[in-house]
């Protein structure tokens, strides 16, 4: 009965937890990249994008997603201003203005990710 009440109030089932854990573990299995390489890639990515738009460095998120045995890299890069900052980094600490820039390079993942506004740019799939 408690189980039922939990479900009634929206607690995730253990199979949903298993599914999510499986998704994450396979993602890292397939990337087979050391965490520091991912960090470096993230930094370089931000540097490049910062040449064109002003981004909120602290809020950048890079993740990987599995779709049919194909791996996609997803980058969530909040854009503070579309005006090119001079000099590019570092961006000033100010209120975030949601702007969307979807520079779709790779195929966008079909699966819906947890909502992460303001900007999502699926980049580089391999």
């Amino acid at each position: 009965m408690i189980e039922w009440l939990k479900r009634f109030f929206g607690a995730p089932t253990s199979s949903a937890t298993a599914k999510e854990r499986l998704r994450l573990v396979l993602m890292t299995d397939h990337i087979a990249l050391a965490p520091d390489i991912i960090d470096n890639m993230k930094r370089d990515l931000i540097d490049v994008i910062s040449h064109y738009v002003e981004v909120d460095r602290d809020k950048v998120e890079v993740s990987f997603e599995q779709e049919d045995r194909v791996l996609a890299m997803l980058a969530n890069i909040p854009i503070v201003s579309v005006n090119r900052p001079t000099p590019p980094p570092p961006p000033p600490k100010k209120k975030e203005v949601p702007a969307s820039a979807s520079a779709a390079i790779g195929p966008p993942p079909k699966r819906k990710r947890r909502k992460k506004p303001p900007a999502q740019s699926p980049a580089a799939a391999h």
């Binding site: 479900r7 995730p12 089932t13 253990s14 949903a16 599914k19 573990v25 599995q66």
Partner: protein
């Protein structure tokens, strides 16, 4: 479905091709059987039980089946088949040419057309010569319609030797995170050459329904393999394994029939993918009416 050749039960001739001289093959070149490795990566998911039952189900269809226990050092397939008292020689004896293949092949108790080549219990996996293993499987393919290879757990040498002679693979997976992860790894190692097909083992439909176990869809959304069959987690599998009498010898019952459907699919018949169904209880219906099940 008894078009398959009848077995030369004596197996007296050590020269393999001579044993099939009376076969009805149109050409002189013998038609080779299919060598299928049963693997999973993770241990304890039911590879051996699956090999025994799928082999039995294929034999029940009239096919000539050879089972190889490739789990050198941890011999188990003979136990599941109830043949432990009949095993005199093992696969390493054959590979090292201590005995002939015919001396080492054990005739199954229940299926006339099935033979077992047991693993060596007191030897090590690295004592197996990969090339010789490959040649052995090839020889068996000349004499049997199916050669099922029960692969050891792991992805080391034992796995490589078991896979060496096979052209196809059956991967056994239970609906658990660790098992799916390992199957994913094994499928990556196998590559496309083995056309891996999936058997989901030990599914508990009642738990899936309650959202407490990964479903067939959840598992295959990740693995994306052709589904050969789904075997429910039934006490009768434990009981039949206790007795050394494979469940697939039965003609009736949902689980036995799931094995027969798998055998039919392997043989190329177009059988609908089996999925164990459990009727929803009243309380479950009530629950889903109010709360809705979550994925």
């Amino acid at each position: 479905m008894h078009v398959l050749r009848s077995l030369d039960t004596s197996f007296d001739s050590p020269a393999a091709p001579a044993a099939q001289g009376d076969k009805t093959d149109t050409n002189s070149a013998p038609k080779l059987g299919r060598a299928i490795v049963v693997t999973s990566g993770k241990g304890g998911v039911g590879k051996t039980t699956t090999t025994a039952n799928v082999g039995t189900a294929l034999a029940q269809r009239g096919a000539n089946v050879a089972l190889i226990d490739a789990d050198v050092g941890l011999r188990n397939l003979d136990i599941v088949l109830g043949l432990e008292s009949r095993v005199k020689y093992h696969v390493l004896d054959v590979l090292e040419e201590k005995v002939s293949l015919d001396e080492a092949l054990v005739t199954d108790k229940h299926s006339e057309t099935m033979r077992l080549l047991a693993a060596a219990q007191s030897r090590e996996k690295d004592e197996v010569d990969t090339e010789k293993m490959q040649a052995l499987v090839q020889t068996l393919r000349e004499r049997f319609d199916y050669v099922l290879i029960d692969c050891p757990a792991g992805i080391e040498l034992g796995f490589k030797n078991a896979v060496a002679g096979a052209q196809e693979a059956i991967v056994v997976c239970t609906p658990e995170v660790a098992a799916v992860r390992d199957v994913d790894r094994v499928v990556g190692l196998l590559g496309n050459r083995f056309k891996p097909q999936l058997i989901i083992n030990r599914l508990r439909p009642q738990l899936v329904r309650k959202g407490k176990m990964l479903s067939v869809e959840d598992v295959n959304a990740i693995l994306r393999l052709p589904l050969l069959g789904v075997i429910a987690d039934e006490p009768e599998i434990i009981i039949t394994t206790n007795k050394g009498v494979p469940l697939a010898l039965r003609r009736d019952g949902e689980t036995a029939s799931a094995y027969h459907k798998i055998a039919a699919r392997i043989a190329g018949e177009d059988v609908a993918a089996p999925a164990p169904e459990v009727k929803e209880s009243f309380m479950e219906k009530l629950g889903s009416f109010f709360g809705g099940r979550r994925a």
